[in-house]
């Protein structure tokens, strides 16, 4: 019998970067989005099948805020990893994502994470240079353009995160 693991994974990102769209399309969801506005959190699940095990990523979709100071860091307690989401058409959201990463690192130490540059389907509005991406990758980060519309990068990101979080 294949072992089944659960891992808590948080979805972080600035306002309107498309976290929820990613979640809505590619994961198992039972709760309504109103939780995001009321409780600030919405729980979803993404099951990733690895060769030797099955990992259930319990996704804590956290309400996106551009003011990172009001971000409730307690939600990250016990997380095995996180997904940073930025809007590839808005460079400022990348900054927000990077700031979030720093705060998480500060509070919880280094945790596995993936950085998704979302809305890759809007190629003509794309505003993040390949150089920047390469720079980020040089840090050993896993950076991946993604699209909620095409599904590009989504499964790979979760799979990678699952491998690292469960490792």
């Amino acid at each position: 019998m294949t072992a089944v693991l659960q891992k808590k994974v948080c979805m972080l990102g600035g306002f309107s970067v498309g976290k929820t769209s990613l979640v809505k399309r590619y994961v198992h969801s039972v709760f309504s989005e109103s939780y995001l506005t009321t409780v600030g959190v919405k729980i979803d699940k993404k099951t990733v099948t690895l060769p030797d095990r099955i990992v259930n990523l319990i996704l804590w979709d956290l309400a996106g805020e551009d003011d990172i100071n009001s971000f409730r860091m307690t939600n990250l307690r016990g997380a095995a990893g996180y997904v940073l989401v930025a809007d590839g058409t808005r460079p400022s959201t990348l900054d927000v994502a990077l700031s979030l990463r720093q705060r998480v690192e500060a509070d919880y130490g280094p945790l596995p994470f993936v950085l998704l540059l979302n809305k890759s389907d809007l190629a003509e509005q794309w505003a993040i240079g390949d150089a920047d991406v390469a720079g980020l990758r040089q840090n050993g980060w896993w950076v991946q353009p993604s699209s909620a519309r095409t599904g590009e990068g989504v499964d790979e990101a979760f799979k990678d995160l699952a491998v690292r979080a469960a490792g």
């Binding site: 693991l5 808590k8 600030g40 979803d44 319990i58 409730r72 307690r77 016990g78 095995a80």
Partner: protein, 763 residues
């Protein structure tokens, strides 16, 4: 002092890892040798007596290195400080390793207890300071729960203390010896734990989840994380709740009870009304889980494979609640089913009742609309419809209407008293039935009246008029003016006839001696009966004068004596036949007779007069005179005063008496003449007498002969002999007593023929 073999073994184990020599076997061999050489050493296990040089040398030779190690160790062991330092270096590791050994807890527990005890004794404040942050909320919570539980018990106890169920539970409490409140809670707090989540507090990941058989929920992993998120949200959002999560959440019938533990939280989803004591149960189970799987919980990283056995504990909780309600739930299902059944039958009954009631009311309305039926009372009794009232015999039969109304006649009791309805329809019916109008007459209702049209014979009309008059007050009027009398012509003719008849009868009534007792006109004939004095006029004789056809008259008269004076007079005149000298006349209420008549007539009249019935007029005879009292009487007396004498033994009169005879004859003739004028007949009796001489028989014949002789003499003188009667008296009627007087003269006187005269009525 002895050392445990384990310690020795440990000490003998060389850190350098020299395994070529079995040091234990070697040491054992040396000891064996030493003991065989010196039997006094046999009591000691390990100790070695110093002082034996050879042995010492051998030992040094053989186990010099070991002795060196041993002495070093002994130095450590013997020096408490060094020993403490040495143990102190390994103690945490040792304890950590020994933790998995259950004996560790047992061994340490008394020591810890004592330590804690003395610590508390020395300074309780320290413990209080340590415990305060954790214990006070716990106490507060516990007290709160206890109070809640108390109130819950009180509420339930009060609620059910006086009900029937309450009494039943009191009986159960008395029987089982349990407190009443507990019994009440057992029966009233119906609940079921549907889900139990064991959630890792740090990550919010689901460790274990157990659901009741019939419970459904979303993905438990998501649910548990969401619960954790909400707990965090509450904790973060409201100050004062920093160390606490949500205790309980109630959403309608569902309750969420949460029990936090050091590493895991137990969350129960309960449907219904759980007893507050369930908090305790949950806490106990959670602490048991923590005690048993402390490490696994602490190091939980999302792999719950190693915690599968925890589910059994959670199942206990689900099972705990499950065994109370099922019966109740089943009971409730039965009760609900029964109630539904009851309700259904009630509804069905009500519908049936309503239907019947509608039918019944429809029937009553119909009845009320019927002329000639008055309902005084209607209702239901003993499941039957009852109706009573008044019914005109001509009205429709109430039972006959039942069929049309769709009501089973067997379910109806009807009682109607007969009465005469006064509504026009009923009266019309009754008139049709009682008058049986001929085909030429039609009766109909016009407004509040009944009108007859057509033509009818008089008898029917008369009957109809009588009926119309006899209709009770309040009944519609009965108008017969529209009916023509078919017998009018006949009637007019009859009226004429009847006028004549009435006149005739009146005439009859005025006739004396006729009494009309009955008069009738029947079938065109006149019937007449009564009394008629035979002296009265014959009624039939009058018919002609009255102009009535005698053939139409049937008269019957019984004879009777009329007491009318005229009639009595008539009858007296008929019966008395008064002589011409007598007149009878009515004078008031008397009938007076006047004139003279022979006395026999008078005496007869007197008799008749006295025989007249009571109430009849009296016959007055006081004015009557006897005919003999006048000239007739003088003549009679003169004749009677005379006699014709005879000689003894002789049948012829003594000579010299011719003159006397002449006178007598003359008087007699005059008398006859006179009496005939008076309508009387004169009767003259000649009686012959003899004296006492001679024999009686010869005297008798002599006397007859003397009378005959005189008769002949008178005949000779013109007297009608028919008027003269003779008789012989013999010697029996002497004029003088012969013995007393001189015989000769007396005898001479006695020898004679005497005259007696009487008057009789004319035949």
């Amino acid at each position: 002092m002895t050392t445990s073999p384990d310690i020795l073994e440990g000490l003998l184990r060389s850190p350098s890892g020299d395994s070529a020599i079995d040091r234990k076997a070697l040491a054992g061999l040396l000891v064996e040798i030493a003991q065989s050489l010196r039997p006094e050493l046999r009591g000691q296990q390990n100790g070695v007596q110093p002082g034996d040089l050879e042995l010492e040398q051998l030992r040094t030779l053989l186990v010099g290195r070991e002795i060196e190690t041993l002495s070093r160790l002994t130095g450590v062991v013997d020096d408490p400080e060094r020993l403490a330092a040495a143990i102190g270096r390994v103690l945490p590791t040792a304890i950590a390793q020994a933790t998995s050994d259950t004996r560790m807890g047992h061994v340490l527990a008394p020591v810890m207890e004592k330590a804690a005890e003395s610590s508390i004794r020395n300074d309780p404040k320290t413990l209080v300071n340590i415990l305060y942050p954790t214990i006070v909320p716990a106490i507060r919570k516990s007290i709160g729960e206890t109070i809640d539980e108390t109130f819950q018990r009180l509420n339930q106890t009060l609620k059910y203390s006086l009900t029937w169920r309450g009494l039943k539970w009191r009986w159960e409490a008395w029987r089982t010896g349990r407190p009443f409140a507990e019994v009440v809670l057992k029966h009233t707090l119906v609940y079921q734990i549907e889900h139990v989540f064991l959630i890792h507090r740090h990550t919010g990941l689901l460790i274990a989840h157990v659901a009741a058989e019939n419970a459904v929920s979303q993905d438990p992993q998501l649910v548990s994380s969401m619960l954790a998120a909400i707990q965090d949200f509450v904790r973060d959002s409201f100050s004062g709740a920093e160390h606490q999560g949500l205790d309980s959440v109630q959403l309608g019938e569902l309750r969420l009870w949460s029990e936090p533990g050091p590493f895991a939280a137990l969350i129960a989803v309960i449907r219904g009304d759980p007893p507050e004591g369930l908090h305790d149960t949950m806490r106990n189970i959670l602490s048991r889980i923590h005690a048993e799987r402390h490490h696994a919980l602490e190091s939980f990283d999302g792999d719950s494979a190693g915690l599968v056995d925890v589910e059994a504990r959670l199942r206990e909780l689900v099972a705990l609640s499950a065994h109370a309600p099922p019966r109740t739930r089943l009971g409730r299902v039965i009760v609900v089913a029964l109630l539904l059944l009851l309700l259904a039958s009630a509804v069905a009954w009500a519908a049936w009742w309503w239907h019947n009631q509608r039918l019944w009311e429809g029937y009553l309305d119909r009845l009320r609309a019927q002329p000639g039926i008055a309902i005084t009372d209607a209702g239901k009794r003993d499941g039957k419809f009852v109706v009573s009232g008044l019914r005109d015999p001509l009205a429709v039969n109430p039972l006959a209407l039942l069929g049309e109304s769709g009501i089973d006649p067997a379910r109806v009791e009807a009682h109607f008293e007969p009465y005469q309805a006064l509504d026009p329809q009923s009266v019309l019916k009754r008139l049709n039935a009682s008058l049986d109008p001929p085909p030429s007459v039609t009766l109909s209702v016009a407004g509040n009246r009944i009108v007859a049209h057509g033509s009818a014979p008089r008898p029917w009309l008369d009957r109809a008029h009588a009926v119309a008059k006899a209709l009770p007050a309040g009944a519609p009027g009965f108008e017969l003016a529209g009916v023509r009398n078919e017998d009018e012509a006949d009637e007019q003719r009859r009226q004429v006839d009847e006028g004549q008849w009435r006149a005739y009868v009146a005439w009859l009534r005025s006739e004396p001696g006729i009494v009309i007792t009955q008069t009738e006109v029947r079938d065109g004939k006149f019937l007449l009966s009564g009394l008629r004095d035979p002296l009265a006029i014959d009624p039939l004789e009058l018919l002609g004068e009255a102009g009535i056809d005698p053939s139409r008259v049937e008269a019957h008269f019984d004879p009777y004596q009329g007491l009318d004076p005229q009639f009595v007079l008539k009858r007296l005149q008929a019966s008395l036949n008064p002589p011409p000298g007598v007149t009878l006349a009515v004078d008031g209420d008397r009938i007076v007779a006047q004139g003279s008549a022979p006395s026999p007539w008078i005496s007869r009249a007197r008799k008749v007069g006295s025989a007249l019935p009571a109430g009849a007029p009296v016959l007055d005879l006081s004015a009557m005179r006897d005919i003999s009292e006048g000239a007739l009487g003088k003549l009679r007396d003169a004749i009677q005063a005379r006699s014709i004498n005879f000689d003894s033994g002789k049948s012829l009169p003594t000579a010299g008496q011719e003159q006397v005879l002449d006178e007598i004859a003359s008087d007699l003739n005059e008398l006859v003449k006179l009496s005939s004028t008076l309508h009387a007949v004169t009767r003259v009796t000649l009686t012959g007498h003899a004296d006492s001489q001679g024999q009686g028989t010869s005297n008798l014949s002599l006397s007859v002969a003397r009378a005959e002789a005189v008769r002949a003499l008178l005949k000779k003188r013109g007297v009608d002999p028919d008027l003269l009667q003779v008789r012989g008296a013999g010697q029996l009627e002497p004029l003088q007593d012969e013995a007393a007087e001189a015989d000769a003269s007396a005898r001479s006187v006695n020898r004679r023929v005497s005259f007696s005269i009487g008057f009789e009525e004319e035949p």
